[in-house]
Subunit: 332 residues, 2 copies
Amino acid sequence: MNDCITLAHGEGGRLYRELVEQVFLPAFDNVALNELGDSAVCPAFGDRLALTTDSFVVRPRFFPGGDIGRLAVSGTVNDLAVSGAQPLYLTCAMILEAGLPIDELRRICDSMAASARDAGVAVVTGDTKVVEKGACDGIFINTAGVGLFRREPLPQKIRPGDVILVSGSVGDHGLAVLAAREKLDFRPQLESDAAPLNGLIDALLQAVPETRALRDATRGGLTAVANEWAETSGVTVAIEETAVPVRPQVRSACQLLGLDPLHAANEGKVVAAVPERFADAALAALRKHPLGKDAAIIGRAESGPPRAVLITSIGARRILALPEGEQLPRIC
Amino acid sequence: MNDCITLAHGEGGRLYRELVEQVFLPAFDNVALNELGDSAVCPAFGDRLALTTDSFVVRPRFFPGGDIGRLAVSGTVNDLAVSGAQPLYLTCAMILEAGLPIDELRRICDSMAASARDAGVAVVTGDTKVVEKGACDGIFINTAGVGLFRREPLPQKIRPGDVILVSGSVGDHGLAVLAAREKLDFRPQLESDAAPLNGLIDALLQAVPETRALRDATRGGLTAVANEWAETSGVTVAIEETAVPVRPQVRSACQLLGLDPLHAANEGKVVAAVPERFADAALAALRKHPLGKDAAIIGRAESGPPRAVLITSIGARRILALPEGEQLPRIC
């Protein structure tokens, strides 16, 4: 492990895992944490709470399709929803840089509030710290979320034969933020997909309670989800390249910038694994919801070594691995 | 209201209240938030959860008596405890600046873990973001806390005749951090009092369930608590200057720096208001606990205009008001 924190430590790859395994887990060792789920499952009142936390440091603060406030609500709501919990309450803590225009803060709060209404959650408590100019970059927002498990927490365990679905096009958020940051102009415009997914996920779980695993494809995109599932479930996760929905403008932007839309971040897309016999029901449930109208079946789990593979348009299979090191910092 | 955020917006005074009243409350309007308590009281499972959040940006990160990790656990645990809830779970989100030595991060995590063990809480979920060098100052930590109300939430309502107690000497944290930041050397050394107070508070509430209100005297110190209680309860809160415990080294440091120990921050002191007939029982319960051995009765609530007053050593009464504007930024 390096001696100092690097941007790569924030990217969810090998260095991040080392940090978790060598620093955080030894220090905080406990059952709920050690599961390393999107939300911790915590006993309370003889029942189970879901708890999660996320900080948002996106640059720029405003971008087509969203802003840091919409992200801060959607990201945390989605972490609760993909673990199978109903999101209920959010906390909101802001670190503000002296000099931030109050009008921007107001716009961000209004956006958070609108997203919270979309998700049906309440922001019940907050905290504000102000640091001197130069000590933070504008505004950082933390939201922690509390949810209730109405049913058993999802097993998050995938078996050979299970079918993998995605709720719509991938890469929209990552490319929209990158374009806004670098002031690149694409037509049609790139737009973030940031949205709370609990309604969509609820519809899926009602239609297919047998759903095995859900994940929102944020940092590292679809590639990160496929690799994580392969590793934790001990299966080969095979994704069909031509089946993955990618908007034309995202595809062009990726080609121009040398990026892969499968690695790029999403903030409004859920990846689902369901037993094969429920694949059509799951697809129909997703497509019936406005946020899932472009849903698609994109692959399946196979017996085999625990890795993610991409089946290309000509039927070849290649390893689907995350690039090492720094990718796109501060996209959320 | 100013057009831009200033350091004074973070100080808990008039500008901060304007921000809350003109930006946050209009955006996030809901019953739990509008109470503006140390913790939000949230229905769940037909019972009540306590939720709170706090970000920590203290400078320097290590100081005599504590560090940012100990603060991050103590501050959030104490916010739950003073509302009468039993702290159970913490979330922990870190924003790290590229270049932070991993060894420092490890020390901070170990300190958080030790404080969590002291408090009997588990850190159940986390998040890590890394920002580029210069985009934050070393490390910012957010902890959100979940607690259970084992009894009714405290009324936080004080009546004339009630007696005010503090669990020990005031100003220790604020002066210790300031001395460490400015590299001032006082003998004996100034030491922060940062500590989780839930054990002490539990002992007090068991001895005196009739306790009316509790507050940890953080930003703005004892003065802020006295003013807040005067305003929310519509009473005069009269503090006897000579009854307030202040360590000699804190008093000297304050004289040298032109500060008032009553305004300075504490991170391990609770202020309590109890009906007069329970004052001795409350004092005894506090003093029996290691964190309350220097507890004292320091004043009382009186019928009169809603303000805090200080009764000086010669018996004169003067308004006890917080200084306007920027005090000591980044002490927590």
